[in-house]
Symmetry: C2
Subunit: 177 residues, 2 copies
C-alpha cells in the first residue's frame, strides 16, 4: 500500500456532521505531484488486470476514474445520482446514514460480459459501492475489482465488498472516523 | 477544431426540458478511443501554454479536467456546487434558465498569481464558466484560457467569455439547440 499519498490528504473535523473526520482529497488532486502519483500508482497496480471498462461513482470518483481509464486505454462509465443521466437508465436505491439515495447508469453503458473496474475516491460502509456493483451486474457486466484511494477500515466497507466475491484495492487507510 | 470527435457524442431529444437537444458526452467517454482522442487533442492544444493549475466545473468537468491535469503534469482544482466542499470556501451565485445556483471553491485552492486553465465539458450561455472565472480571480488567480469539449455557438457563451478578455478553445461545435 502506497501510504506516501497520505501526506497530501487533509483532514477536516466535523464535516459534514459533528464528530466526522472528513478525509479531503481536494488537496491531493490540487498538488501536481499528488495527482500524478495517485494516478500512476493506481494504474500500475491495475495494469496486470484485463478490464474492458472503468466505472466511476459521482462525483469525486469521476476524477481519478477518468484519468485512470485514460492511462489504461479503457472507456469510462459514469454512475450518477438520480436524474442526471440524459439517456435510458436503470436505477438502484441504497441506504445512507440518514435516509436513502438512488444511483443510475445508462442501460447501454456496459455490454454483457464486460469486465469492469469500479472506482470511487473513498470506501466507508460500502453502501454506495455495493449499489454501483449491482447496477453493473444487472447490465450483465462483471465487476472484476473495486478500487479506492482511501479506506476507512473501521467502517467495514472493504470486507463487505470482498464478501460479495469482489477483490478490492486501496492506496491508503485512515483509522478513526 | 477536431470535429472527428462529434461521432462519439450522442444527441438526446427533450432533455432536460422539451425542445432541448442534449449533447451527451457519456458515449464519448464510454468509448476508449473517444476518451483517448479527447484527452490527447485537448492536451496537445494546451501544451504550448504555461498553466499552473487546471480547474474543472462540477460534475462533468471533473472527468476530462482531471485527466488533462494528469497529462499536463498539473494539479486539479474542483469548483463545486454549494455545500459539497469540506474546507473554507468562497462562493459565487449565477443565473440558470430557471432560477439561481451557487458555485464554490476552496479559498486555498489557487495561489495568488497562478495561471489557470478553466475546463468544462460544454459551453452554452457561459453563465457557469463566468461564475468559475470570478471565483478563480477573486482568489488572485489568472484564468489564462477557458476550454470546452463542446460549444453551442448560437447561445453566445464563447463570445461572452472572450469579451471578458479570456481566450477560449473548443474541440467541436453543434448548431441548433
Amino acid at each position: 500500500m502506497a501510504s506516501n499519498l497520505k501526506k497530501y490528504i487533509r483532514t477536516i473535523p466535523d464535516f459534514p456532521h459533528a464528530g466526522i473526520q472528513f478525509r479531503d482529497i481536494t488537496t491531493l488532486f490540487n498538488n501536481s505531484k499528488g495527482l500524478r502519483e495517485t494516478v500512476d500508482q493506481m494504474a500500475d497496480a491495475m495494469a496486470i488486470h484485463n478490464f474492458d471498462q472503468v466505472a466511476g461513482l459521482e462525483a469525486r470518483g469521476f476524477m481519478l476514474g477518468a484519468a485512470l481509464a485514460y492511462r489504461l486505454e479503457l472507456g469510462f462509465t459514469m454512475i450518477r445520482k438520480k436524474g442526471k443521466l440524459p439517456g435510458k437508465t436503470i436505477s438502484q436505491d441504497y441506504n445512507l446514514e440518514y435516509g436513502e439515495a438512488t444511483l443510475e447508469i445508462h442501460d447501454d453503458a456496459i455490454e454483457s460480459g464486460q469486465k469492469v473496474l469500479l472506482f470511487d475516491d473513498l470506501i466507508a460502509t460500502g453502501g454506495t459501492a455495493e449499489a454501483g456493483i449491482n447496477l453493473i451486474e444487472r447490465l450483465g457486466g462483471k465487476v472484476e475489482m473495486a478500487a479506492f484511494i482511501i479506506d476507512l477500515p473501521e467502517l467495514g466497507g472493504r470486507k463487505k465488498i470482498e464478501s460479495l466475491g469482489i477483490p478490492t484495492y486501496v492506496l491508503c487507510e485512515f483509522d478513526g472516523l
